[in-house]
């Protein structure tokens, strides 16, 4: 599903250049649930952003579902993001003047899905994350966990090939974190490929594979036995 070869990325900080990713080789199969771990500054978020086409790579190659991701203009990148990827952010990034349902329906708007169908689909995904009754509420009226579940519903609404989550539980307490992880595991059980960036070991343990990043290189890449989040909920 994802194929990365010899990926380099550096940022210019004034006159200095900061080499963040120093040759990453990495691939993900369909249906995997991968945790990308590392301390802050290890390059894990940068890697996820490049995978999500939110950022561009300097060197190396990236293939997503057999499509080489290279030299994309913004229009093409937007098209691919819409078709292939769903995002979940640490700070939720819901649009604050839109209700939960409208937020979930937004990626469908950019897929040119009709209004009626958008709403139906949005309600279906809200139902899946258990927030059907909250459809008409604004994000400000929801708790952190609820917001993140709306964000996950929004990421799923476009039916992406890969779900990318950047510290999805970073802003949540542990109980809510486990609820969110439970949801992510269920989505993964349904066959979706998911990548999670996290620095919390207990969250990483709920995935099926852990990739350790340190100073821009992969130091460890192991398959683990998944711990089900449902036992904590």
């Amino acid at each position: 599903m994802i194929e990365i070869k010899n990926l380099h990325k550096s940022y210019k900080m004034g006159s200095n250049s900061l080499h963040v990713l120093k040759g990453i080789n990495f691939s993900v199969e369909e249906g995997e649930l991968v945790a990308i771990m590392g301390s802050s500054g290890s390059g894990k978020s940068t890697l996820l952003n490049i995978l999500g086409m939110l950022d561009v790579l300097d060197e190396g190659s990236y293939t997503l579902d057999g499509v080489p991701i290279k030299n994309l203009n913004e229009t093409k990148a937007a098209q691919y993001r819409n078709k292939f990827l769903g995002f979940v952010f640490q700070s939720f990034n819901l649009i604050n003047y839109k209700s939960a349902m409208e937020n979930v329906a937004l990626p469908l708007y950019y897929q040119k899905v009709g209004r009626k169908e958008r709403q139906e689909k949005a309600l279906k995904y809200l139902e899946q994350v258990g927030l059907r009754e909250w459809a008409d509420h604004l994000p400000s009226e929801l708790s952190g966990g609820q917001k993140q579940r709306v964000a996950i519903a929004r990421a799923m609404a476009a039916e992406p090939k890969v779900l990318l989550a950047d510290e999805p539980t970073g802003a949540l307490d542990s109980t809510t974190s486990y609820e969110v992880m439970d949801l992510i595991q269920k989505i993964n059980d349904a066959g979706n490929t998911i990548l999670i960036v996290t620095h919390e070991p207990d969250i990483a343990d709920m995935c099926k594979r852990i990739v350790h990043l340190k100073d821009g290189v992969i130091v460890e890449d192991k398959k683990i036995t998944q711990i089900r989040a449902s036992q904590y909920v």
Partner: protein, 415 residues
């Protein structure tokens, strides 16, 4: 533009961001409102001043003489120059093709006029029938002086509405009755009014021939009045009338043996030059109001641009989210501009309708000196609305375009 989905998206955004929408709309509407009111008042002042200048024919030329101030051909300075009937006739025959109205003028100052037991002191002036057109007078009762009166040296007189009120104590029909001018009986043939108002109505008019004969004027004239046929455009008319005054001046100097350089022996006035000044004045007023108006519009444009930039800034994160969800750059630009154009249009037309309504309904009943019926050209008003909309769209385009090209990761990082 007619993408129904986009419209729904924009109405959502407008509904949920009422303050933002209100501020944008208000700055546009107030800009248009101020401009329309300003231009309306500019027009109103022009109307008002034009009315003040209405009292006399606007292309009137008058000629009079004084004493010479320069020695010429052996004649001493200080010699009085007297206009004569034959001067008037020569000018008439010389310039007959150019003249529109003409009248000789013989004046008696502070003459006692009696009617029954009432008595008053007025100016009595001997003129020709065409003097009516030169002074912009109208007939209230009876008739004006005619050439028959002039030929038969008739003792007939025109009085004004004011004199009728003052001296005749409001007698209903004075036509045919007699009044005494310096003790001589004159029959009233008409009552005139003057558009210039009361101050122009302190005069009685009698035929020029009668004035000269009865009051020992011989063939002397105090003044001569002329108006010229207007040409197709003002500049040409003005040039012609200036040339005409120079021509009669040089003719009169020659006829009376006055030095061509004598500054005061032969004098003329030309109201057309006054008209020129008046036009410059109204032109100046118009320019001033346009200038202020354009500054207002510029301020409006700057205001709209500022708001657009703030809106884009405020929405940077939202734009990042939308891009992460698959919005193409043009969809972002389109969304922001569509909203901006929609809001400025609605607000612009609201300001236009409100201000024009105010001018339409309040304007005519306005009672202020030098302001009459303020109004505005609809085409001008509507073009300024479009100008503001286009300017707002342009001002919004650049920040919107920049925002749409920011990489989503940077937009999302924006706090």
């Amino acid at each position: 533009m007619f993408d129904i989905e986009r419209w729904q998206e924009i109405f959502d955004a407008i509904q949920k961001n009422k303050l933002r929408t209100f501020l944008t709309g208000f700055s546009v509407a107030s800009g248009i409102f101020i401009l329309v009111i300003l231009l309306g008042f500019g027009q109103g002042m022009q109307n008002g001043i034009a009315k003040e200048f209405e009292s006399d024919a606007s292309n009137r030329i008058g000629v009079w003489t004084q004493v010479t101030t320069q020695e010429y051909k052996g004649l001493n300075p200080g010699r009085p120059i007297q206009l004569k009937n034959n001067n008037y006739q020569s000018i008439n025959s010389k310039f007959s093709g150019n003249l529109e109205h003409k009248s000789p003028f013989f004046r008696l100052r502070n003459v006692t006029v009696d009617y029954n037991n009432e008595s008053g002191s007025y100016s009595v002036q001997g003129v020709s029938p065409l003097f009516q057109n030169i002074e912009n007078q109208f007939i209230s009762q009876g008739r004006y002086l005619n050439y028959g009166d002039e030929e038969s040296v008739a003792k007939v007189v025109m009085i004004s509405n004011k004199i009728k009120r003052e001296l005749l104590k409001g007698e209903d029909d004075p036509i045919g009755s007699f009044l005494k001018i310096s003790g001589i009986n004159f029959q009233i043939v008409g009552v005139y009014g003057d558009k210039g108002g009361d101050r122009e109505e302190d005069r009685l008019f009698i035929p020029i021939s009668t004035a000269q004969r009865v009051f020992n004027g011989s063939d002397n004239l105090n003044m001569m009045f002329f108006t010229l046929k207007p040409s197709s455009n003002f500049e040409e008319t003005l040039a012609k009338s200036i040339k005409f005054t120079e021509d009669i001046k040089s003719y009169l100097r020659e006829a009376h043996t006055v030095a061509p350089t004598d500054p005061s022996a032969v004098n003329t006035f030309n109201t057309l030059e006054g008209v020129k000044r008046f036009q410059n004045l109204t032109g100046g007023i118009k320019f001033f109001f346009w200038f202020v108006g354009i500054c207002t519009i510029v301020a409006g444009v700057v205001g709209v641009s500022n708001i657009m930039m703030i809106i884009v800034k405020e929405r940077t994160r939202e734009i990042g989210v939308r891009k992460a969800l698959g919005a193409r750059p043009w969809a972002i630009v389109g969304m922001i501009l569509h909203e901006a154009i929609f809001v400025t249009s609605v607000a612009g037309f609201a300001g236009l309708i409100f201000s024009m309504g105010l001018l339409e309904f309040v304007g005519p009943s306005l009672q202020v000196d030098y302001v009459l019926n303020p109004s505005i050209n609809f085409r001008v008003a509507i073009s300024t609305v479009f100008l503001l909309i286009i300017a707002g769209a342009l001002a919004g385009f650049f920040p919107a375009w920049r925002a749409s090209t920011i990489r989503p990761i940077e937009a999302l990082r924006d706090e």
